[in-house]
């Protein structure tokens, strides 16, 4: 379960018409859901793509799809999973379509010769750069597991992989990040 999903009751009530089909989400309910979800979804997309403008674009597209699909509302947890899965798919489509990975690496390389940054900016830049050295799927796995607190089932749903593969994929992603951190002298000492 996504860790940040402890929610007050009102949104959990499913609105249904007499025919049993879910009601289209009205603006007030959408706004509530958006305010609870958009921040963490944007952070996820930003870490995944490394580009604020792209994250903005994908965030909006995710919510457009969400409103168009009007997924059956079982619970907010369900909706949240739905939107994270949609956002992940959109981000992966984006990588495939524009080969953004390469362009961003070039942009990062260019920005290294730019004006001096504040310490906070340097930290953010270094961390983003380290994270961008991972593959998109590895980034998504790590963010969902460590920041969103998603379990293997949620991750498998978000990334469209089998639940039993998540353990192996996550292990590899952590190993790769661990190696990167070790190489940069950032790995913590973990005493057994």
């Amino acid at each position: 379960m996504f860790a940040s999903m402890t929610l007050p009751a009102p949104l959990l009530v499913e609105a249904r018409t007499r025919s049993g089909k879910p009601d289209p989400m009205d603006e007030a309910r959408f706004e509530t859901f958006y305010r609870r979800t958009a921040g963490s979804l944007w952070s996820y997309l930003y870490r995944l793509t490394g580009d604020g403008a792209v994250a903005d674009d994908l965030l909006q597209k995710s919510f457009f799809r969400f409103l168009r699909a009007n997924p059956a509302v079982a619970s907010e947890e369900h909706l949240r999973r739905w939107i994270f899965r949609t956002a992940t798919n959109l981000a992966f489509d984006h990588f495939r379509e524009t080969k953004r990975e390469r362009a961003r690496s070039e942009a990062t390389a260019r920005s290294e010769s730019g004006p001096p940054m504040e310490a906070r900016e340097v930290l953010r830049h270094d961390m983003m750069k380290t994270f961008s050295e991972l593959k998109p799927r590895e980034r998504a796995l790590l963010w969902l597991a460590h920041v969103e607190g998603a379990d293997h089932e949620d991750i498998s749903e978000a990334l469209g992989v089998k639940t039993r593969s998540v353990k192996v994929l996550l292990f590899r992603a952590r190993k790769r990040l661990g190696e990167l951190l070790t190489k940069k002298g950032l790995a913590p000492e973990v005493k057994r």
């Binding site: 604020g52 409103l67 920041v147 293997h152 192996v168 790995a187 973990v190």
Partner: protein, 158 residues
């Protein structure tokens, strides 16, 4: 085994907050997955906290409005799809009609066109008999239909 270690979440939390118990440390010694998780958890914790809050998210009412506009556009294009299909069929019918008509009386048309000069029109007027009234009738219908289709296409695009 492909199941997640049931202590993984606990380990991630402990590593992120640097709050270890002896029991969890002992568990790390026996669990490679948790060891890997513990290696990266503090960094991921810091990474998740680097500020990106100066970024302003789009207002929900704007997102709602845009989504509704997109939905309306999608509805319009869905509704006009049958008309598009009819238009394509009409193009095909007109093109086929011209091809059939010209193929049917190509020799006569060629002769008629060859003498299509002001003097020849007058002197060879009799030769036009080789093209029947039904041909000219069809020609008129097809030409009218083509003009209508062209006008419809132009006006629809505008």
């Amino acid at each position: 085994m492909n199941h997640a270690c049931r202590r993984e979440a606990e380990v991630v939390r402990a590593a992120g907050q640097d709050r270890w118990t002896d029991e969890l440390r002992a568990h790390l010694a026996a669990c490679d997955d948790c060891m890997q998780a513990a290696m990266v958890a503090p960094w991921m914790e810091r990474f998740s906290r680097i500020s990106d809050r100066e970024h302003l998210l789009p207002d929900p009412s704007i997102v709602w409005l845009k989504a509704k506009l997109l939905q309306n556009n999608a509805d319009v294009s869905r509704a006009s799809r049958p008309l598009d299909i009819v238009q394509i069929v009409a193009y095909a019918v007109v093109a086929g009609g011209w091809a059939a008509l010209l193929t049917w009386r190509w020799e006569a048309v060629k002769t008629w066109l060859a003498g299509f000069t002001p003097t020849a029109i007058v002197s060879n007027a009799a030769r036009a008999e080789s093209l029947s009234m039904s041909f000219f009738g069809l020609l008129f219908v097809l030409a009218s239909f083509t003009v209508m289709l062209a006008l419809h296409t132009i006006l629809a695009e505008e």
